[in-house]
């Protein structure tokens, strides 16, 4: 663990080690005490944290495609976030031991008894589920592998062809990521209710993951902004751009969430509408309302203000609020499937978030410490440092 180069983040590292250690211990205890609850909480925490990695990978590929001063400041943070995906592949393995506790479709007799579900058996079965997961992780890790390798080479040699390589890979990579993430969340989250389907579900996750990743890098960049060179690349105009991207992701998430609600509400079909009926009953409606307020209305209104985007502490505050509100989002998407009658929060939910999060943040900091904090040979860096303010 060599992040001694980043003393600003030692607080984050300590929190990750302490909370993560306690979380992992609590998870181990919980796995024996109540295995079913363990797997439910673990899925929730897993989907929360894997989203930051996927979101970082997506945004860094967008940056390679578009360029722009906004990206150079946070590129290393995004790369380190994407670099956690190999760890997340390993942390996926525990879920495989709980498939029966998590997914109703693994019970063949339930599936055979229902004509609709019987027709879904060729897709929803354990061997194909695992094969697909292997494919998703292989695709993501391959993207991370090449982007990391070329990025290190760019640091070393400054060869301009490497930027072209990264751009070309990112073009196809974005498409690959969109498809793999869509099917991954179909498999891992949407299939919790094997009857239910929503074609916008993949986009909904992609938007949320991009939002979470953007908020995360803005918050971490704030911790680093005491460094003079970081303060320089994070000029008010750049913060304004980052804030606008955050606002765009807030609106994408809200737009897609509402589209799904409107279509299902208008159709009012028996295989679709129960998904919402569970979520407006038994206290789950409180989470729905909290999401509308704290995941959409408040960030939207705050991020409209120009001054809130151009001052880093204000932008970081709203970013942290979004990171916390994202917990509610994932909780709302996943947990009502297990506890349909009433809102249920278990101590294992907290332990899983802390445990998986501790490992994730530790991995993030390790990857972050392995390269210079600002990419020395990125073509955008020189203009960013030369900008006068």
């Amino acid at each position: 663990m060599n992040d001694s180069a980043i003393p600003e983040l030692s607080g984050l590292r300590r929190a990750a080690l302490v909370l993560g250690g306690m979380g992992v211990l609590a998870l181990l205890v919980g796995a024996f005490l109540s295995p079913a609850q363990f797997f439910h909480s673990y899925l929730f925490a897993y989907m929360y944290w894997v989203g930051f990695g996927i979101g970082c990978l997506g945004i860094v590929m967008v940056y390679h495609l578009t360029g722009g001063g906004w990206g150079v400041a946070v590129r290393r943070l995004l790369e380190a976030g994407a670099g956690t995906l190999p760890l997340m592949a390993v942390l996926f393995v525990p879920l495989l031991f709980g498939l029966h506790q998590i997914y109703e479709w693994t019970h063949t007799e339930t599936m055979m008894a229902d004509e609709v579900l019987r027709a879904k058996l060729p897709y929803l079965n354990i061997p194909f589920f695992i094969a697909r997961a292997v494919f998703y992780f292989a695709a993501w890790i391959a993207l991370v592998f090449f982007l990391t390798r070329w990025s290190r080479e760019q640091d070393r040699t400054g060869d301009p062809r490497l930027a072209v390589n990264m751009r070309k890979l990112s073009g196809g990579g974005i498409v690959l990521l969109a498809f793999t993430v869509t099917f991954a969340v179909f498999d891992w989250v949407m299939s919790l209710d094997p009857h239910w389907f929503s074609t916008v579900f993949g986009m909904l996750f992609l938007g949320g993951q991009a939002l979470g990743a953007m908020a995360f890098v803005i918050a971490v960049a704030y911790l680093l902004s005491r460094r003079p060179e970081f303060a320089r690349v994070l000029a008010p105009t750049i913060l304004n751009d980052l804030g606008n991207l955050l606002l765009a992701f807030v609106m994408i998430w809200a737009y897609l969430s509402f589209s799904q609600l409107l279509i299902i509400w208008a159709g009012n079909l028996p295989e679709e509408i129960p998904w919402y009926l569970h979520r407006i009953a038994g206290g789950w409606n409180l989470i729905a309302m909290a999401l509308a307020i704290f995941y959409f209305a408040v960030p939207f209104l705050v991020l409209l203000g120009r001054r809130n985007k151009r001052q880093h502490h204000r932008l970081a505050t709203i970013a942290v609020a979004i990171i916390i509100a994202r917990l509610l989002d994932l909780f709302f998407l996943i947990m009502p499937e297990f506890y349909r009658d009433r809102l249920s929060v278990h101590w294992l939910d907290v332990a899983a978030i802390a445990g998986v999060g501790g490992l994730w943040v530790t991995m993030f900091l390790w990857r972050l410490g392995s390269q210079p904090l600002l990419p020395p040979n990125d073509p955008e860096l020189a203009p960013a440092l030369a900008r006068k303010h």
Partner: protein, 174 residues
């Protein structure tokens, strides 16, 4: 009568530097003219406090309220129809119209507000009296310090502008 002094620059950096310096020196009645938007100019001339954002926000709110009220009036008061047993006041169905009306009103306010605040259309403006001013739409960058500025002095201001090495400084007639 003199409207102001116009300096012509080859590149945006000198223009920004000159604008910033002029603002620091206390000149307030001045404006820059460029072929493309330059973000730093707003800072240099300290002119980002316009009432446009507020106008657009008000336009958006008015549009949203109008849209929702229209839907409410049509569906609940004027033409109540039973659609699949839903309540007349079914808010999810009203949101798309509310959203579109918000955007429409905000956009219209932005366009006409921009025209009004810029006092456009304006058939005559003295800066076009500067001989080569047409190049402001191509590859030259102009800074005009107006004669009504309290600090304006025909010789001192000319010397100030010339200190940045412009291609030329010309008098602009009213």
């Amino acid at each position: 009568m003199l409207y102001g002094l116009m300096a012509e620059f080859d590149n945006p950096d000198t223009l920004v530097a000159a604008s910033r310096r002029a603002h620091q020196e206390g000149y307030r009645q001045l404006d820059a003219y460029t072929p493309f938007p330059i973000e730093e100019l707003h800072e240099a001339l300290d002119i980002h406090h316009t009432s446009m954002p507020l106008l657009v926000l008000i336009g958006g709110i008015v549009g949203g309220v109008t849209g929702y009220s229209l839907e409410y009036w049509v569906s609940v008061v004027a033409y109540p129809l039973n659609i699949g047993g839903r309540p007349f006041h079914s808010w999810p169905a009203f949101i798309p119209v509310t959203f579109e009306m918000t955007v429409l009103f905000a956009a219209i306010t932005a366009v006409f507000g921009m025209l009004a605040l810029n006092k456009l259309p304006m058939p005559y403006h003295p800066v076009f009296n500067a001989p080569r001013f047409a190049l402001a739409t191509r590859d030259r960058f102009f800074l005009c310090i107006e004669a009504k500025d309290r600090k304006f002095d025909a010789t001192a201001t000319r010397r100030f502008l010339e200190s940045f090495g412009p291609r030329e400084v010309t008098d602009v007639e009213q």
